[in-house]
Subunit: 293 residues, 2 copies
């Protein structure tokens, strides 16, 4: 097909993803609440349009990459939203991490207009977005997914079709349970080690290759030790995702005591001013709690 | 030196470790509370002696591999214990996972007789013991450690000298905090996934290579899904180690909320009859808790 792409949301993730699509010689219509975020893409030939509806009207496939559930709702359902110009065959791919429940509602609504809504949240951070090494977890109509899969392979190197609408979001939330509780494991372990006077570099080296090993230990452990809290992924965003997890779990009567504990300790980290720091700054809270005496 | 080795404690870990020392052509004096556990080693030429004191009297280096703090205390301090025949130059290497505090006491006591006590707990399970691929975390006198290090390399492939007496045990406890809380992360993540109807094999495959990845996810996750609770490491032993962690943390006024939570949930697993199952059986408790409705 003559594939015309749209991209809505040009933040820290969206901008480099749109850039990669232009690398692959796609023509792009773009929209962002803050037009200045589109300037590099515009300079390269992308057309800036004033509304999501206008982007959808000109595109076969529209990508969304915004922050929260209500942002996606505004882009799709709002005045001049995608739904205002959606038509048979349009495929909307949402790379935001949002509510699985709202995702299913949006997919149902667009389906009435003959359009498809694919949830496709990503992990891998801005580095992964720049390098095309994101993991993408997709849910929705399988035929629509197959149509966009070749484009997703420009953006990521691990593309998983998870099942019906919402399962991409649910899989991303599973990822975030693992990430946040494993992070907490590393914080407590290094706190215990530090309070007992162990050499922390040596401890991480001794334990990383065995049953205690994790991405979080190998990647965030050294930054915790060094007090390097520059964000790969911020605590505020981690909290946004933990809220989605606990809200989704609550809707299904699922008890998640460890994820809840992580959420509470991240709240303390936000209260201490670490919201814009990387998730490894959770270490400061666990360490303080462990040594209030 | 003409190195005569002794080995005390011939259980699931000790027996294959002693076997490897015989593979390396060391002559071995052995002791075990249950003599039958020594039969294969005796058939191969090891000398069985009736007391730890007798083993120590005939050896330059004595290895201990028993279960708990009080077992090591009995082997060292008890009637006919190692201390009864310890002499200048004797090196005792304790592979058990026990209290760091008691470890330092035993090291101090033996030091008065001119003997060294090296704490050298291991991880890697019975498979690692058989294959010589254990991780060994050692603490104690550095000169004594250097003397035994070549022998430790027969038993393990990651040998870390952690520092003074007790630091080997502390490092092992750091390992066990990581292992138990990361295990809990996997249990909650897979419970959330299962309750939401996700394909669990696909979920693990999609997430293992990224920031959510861990040894626990890759190795225990598939067994949780399959309901395969055969032990690599039993819940009873994990609980023994979590008690050591929380006791040691309490002695130092260190608060460890996530490790405490893991301990409580493992207690529920023991109550449900899973004490002799592998630690992956924690999944059954987290899953039941999440779906009591």
């Amino acid at each position: 097909m003559d594939t015309r792409l749209g991209f809505i949301g040009l933040g820290i993730m969206g901008a480099p993803m749109a850039w990669r699509l232009m690398d692959a010689r796609y023509t792009l219509a773009v929209h962002s609440r803050t037009k200045s975020k589109a300037s590099r893409l515009i300079a390269r030939g992308a057309r800036f349009l004033d509304t999501p509806a206008a982007v959808a009207a000109e595109s076969n496939v529209v990508f969304i990459c915004v922050t929260d559930t209500r942002d996606v709702e505004a882009v799709v359902r709002g005045d001049d939203g995608i739904a205002a110009s959606a038509r048979r065959g349009l495929i909307v791919v949402d790379h935001s991490t949002i509510s699985p429940t709202v995702t299913r509602q949006l997919a149902d609504e667009l389906a009435k207009q003959g359009a498809h809504f694919i949830d496709a949240p990503v992990s891998g951070g801005d580095v992964g977005a720049r390098n095309g090494t994101l993991s993408i977890m997709a849910g929705g109509d399988p035929t629509a997914f197959e149509k966009v899969e070749p484009i997703l392979r420009i953006l990521g190197n691990t593309i998983t079709y998870c099942g019906p609408s919402g399962t991409g979001q649910l899989t991303k939330l599973v990822n975030q349970i693992l990430v946040s509780v494993t992070n907490l494991a590393v914080c407590e372990a290094l706190t215990f080690a530090k309070q007992n006077g162990l050499n922390l570099e040596k401890t991480i080296a001794a334990l990383s290759a065995g049953a205690a090993g994790s991405w979080q230990l190998a990647n965030l452990g050294p930054r915790m030790i060094a007090g390097d809290f520059r964000p790969g992924f911020t605590i505020s965003l981690q909290q946004k995702d933990l809220k989605l997890i606990l809200q989704s779990a609550c809707e299904s009567n699922i008890s998640l005591p460890a994820a809840s504990l992580a959420h509470q300790l991240f709240t303390a980290a936000q209260a201490a001013g670490h919201g814009k720091d990387g998730t490894q700054a959770l270490f400061t809270v666990v360490e303080k709690l462990a040594s209030l005496h």
